[in-house]
């Protein structure tokens, strides 16, 4: 899957982000091409999560522009990102702890539910129809992720690995064009990581969803990515296919901790 022939879905130009004097990201530009799996890697504190937060509007960069699907933004807002088809998962799991698995994933479809509260109160019209229609789609996701037996369980009582899966489900429920995954395999066992890699790859292959992935496990990165971007101390030090990036001296230095 060569990246040159595909068009860029996301173009980041000269993004700079600082928090009261601490520069988290300095002048980063890269493209994410449609239909690819792009991994963002780098040592801890390199600015990877911040980068993701900039893409979907949780942080607003002081400089730079974001172009998604042809539209340019100086300031992206989370709500706008969601409407445009960007969905994401979080490093520390941002599930709705008071709700069940089913409700959490259903909430991912909220942008497609147009019923007003009058209709929901009387359970008529769009409300009734939408609950059943979207339930069907959500059940497909539940089946895909193997969550059938726990669909009514409150998420707070689930083990960590399953919670991460539910969060992926909620992101998938939005039928996004681009999926941002922040360390989806952190804290997982070998088996769970295998499952998660399979899910990610299937989503990419079958639905054509573009995926941007922050990941520390190099095995996974090499295995599933089409494109790798390397960050270190808020700057980009590598950008290209996995094999090329892994042999880049700067990248090796960064990971081995050579001072520069």
């Amino acid at each position: 899957m060569s990246t040159e022939s595909k068009k860029p879905l996301l173009v980041l130009e000269d993004i700079s982000l600082s928090f009261k004097g601490v520069k988290a990201i300095t002048d980063i530009s890269f493209n994410v091409y449609e239909g690819e799996i792009c991994s963002v890697i780098g040592p801890n504190g390199a600015g990877k999560s911040s980068m993701l937060n900039v893409i979907n509007g949780v942080y607003i960069p002081q400089e730079g522009t974001i172009t998604f699907d042809g539209k340019q933004f100086n300031k992206m807002k989370p709500h706008t990102a969601a409407v445009m088809g960007i969905a994401r998962t979080f490093q520390n799991i941002a599930l709705f702890k008071g709700m069940s698995v089913l409700d959490n994933i259903m909430s991912g479809r909220n942008l497609m539910m147009k019923a007003s509260f009058w209709e929901t109160a009387l359970n008529i019209g769009r409300a009734k129809r939408e609950e059943l229609e979207h339930r069907l789609e959500v059940e497909k996701i539940i089946e895909f992720l193997g969550l059938q037996s726990i669909r009514k369980t409150p998420v707070a009582s689930l083990p960590y690995g399953l919670q991460k899966r539910v969060e992926l489900g909620r992101a998938l429920a939005a039928e996004p064009k681009m999926l941002l995954l922040d360390e989806p395999m952190a804290g997982m066992t070998m088996e769970e990581k295998l499952d998660m890699s399979c899910f990610i790859q299937e989503v990419n292959r079958n639905l054509g969803t573009t995926i941007v992935l922050i990941e520390h496990d190099m095995g996974v990165v090499m295995d599933i990515s089409d494109h790798v971007v390397v960050l270190d101390y808020g700057k980009k030090i590598g950008d290209g296919p996995p094999s090329e990036v892994m042999n880049n001296q700067d990248v090796i230095d960064a990971y081995l901790g050579v001072s520069h």
Binding site: N53, V58, F90, Q91, N92, A94
Partner: protein, 302 residues
């Protein structure tokens, strides 16, 4: 102009009285993140205990000491029976517990003492000071209440003491650590239980002082618990975690209340606007600074 000054100064001074109540809230919130709704009732209990002794001709100093001990003990009991079992739960639960505690203490107080109104004399003169006579150089022909000044001085001293305590002593540092993250504080060996006991005991003392001052001013009865309602907008303006904020908030509320009563009441068709006016003032301030003027912003990390 001079009338305006008189109202303003009167308002500022009465605002200090509100600050007294507010400090109790801030102290506990700062040290444990709990919003102690039972503050007002604790105030009342202190005042009632003191008054029932002085009415029986007990000497002022002895009554004071006995009440002091009682308040400290009460504080420690509350910490042990209510706060500690709930230490792991959400702040909302802790708040609701204090709401329940408040109700409980109210029933207790009303059951043990009746609802009669008791007068309280602290020996501070209530005579007005004619500024033009005492300080002719200022050239201001306004009247200030001596009691208000005394209260302001007491409150000011207390606040100064507490601020210094929090900033410059080790216990103060431990208190701040505990309020920030009590898990982390435990991890570095800070004795949580002792710290919380100290906090609630000190609060008991503050309640005593505030209760006595308020009791003298408005006499001791159940309406004293309404002092809480005045304290709330004060801390909300000043910031739940800031002791100097309690003073600033008190001044703002006190001044705006009195000024509002005099100058705005006519536009709003009558008396009685002071309650909602105080809260509306607080609301306006909060819209500009959602965590109070000196409050800490809560940062959520995703």
């Amino acid at each position: 102009m001079e009338y305006f000054l008189e109202v303003l100064v009167g308002g500022l001074l009465s605002g200090v009285m509100y600050s007294l109540v507010a400090i109790g809230f801030v102290l506990i919130y700062k040290s444990s993140g709990v919003f102690n709704f039972a503050q007002g009732t604790m105030l009342l209990l202190a005042a009632l205990t003191f008054v029932s002794m002085t009415e029986r001709q007990v000497d002022f100093k002895i009554a004071f000491i006995i009440t002091l001990v009682m308040m400290v003990v009460l504080g420690i009991i509350v910490e042990r029976t209510v706060m500690r079992p709930l230490a792991n739960q959400s702040l909302l639960s802790l708040f609701m517990a204090t709401v329940g505690l408040n109700y409980f203490l109210e029933g207790l107080a009303q059951g043990v003492w009746d609802s009669a109104v008791h007068g309280l004399e602290l020996g501070i003169s209530n005579d007005p000071i004619f500024l033009i006579d005492e300080f002719p150089a200022l050239g201001l022909d306004i009247i200030i209440s001596q009691f208000d000044i005394a209260a302001a001085v007491i409150a000011g001293t207390m606040i100064l003491g507490l601020t210094l305590f929090f900033q410059y002593t080790r216990t103060g540092l431990s208190l701040r650590a505990v309020s920030d993250d009590h898990m982390a504080a435990m991890a570095v060996g800070i004795p949580l239980n002792r710290i919380w006991a100290i906090v609630w005991a000190v609060t008991g003392v503050i309640c005593l002082i505030a209760g006595l001052l308020w009791g003298d001013r408005v006499s001791v009865s159940f309406t004293l618990t309404a002092a809480v309602l005045k304290g709330l907008p004060v801390i909300l303006i000043g910031g739940l975690t800031s002791i100097p904020g309690a003073i600033v908030g008190g001044l703002i509320i006190g001044a705006s209340e009195k000024l509002g009563e005099i100058y705005l009441a006519d536009y709003f068709g009558g008396q009685g606007i002071e309650h909602w006016w105080a809260y509306t003032t607080a609301l306006i301030f909060l819209m500009i600074r959602p965590t109070g003027i000196f409050g800490e912003k809560e940062i959520e990390r995703v």
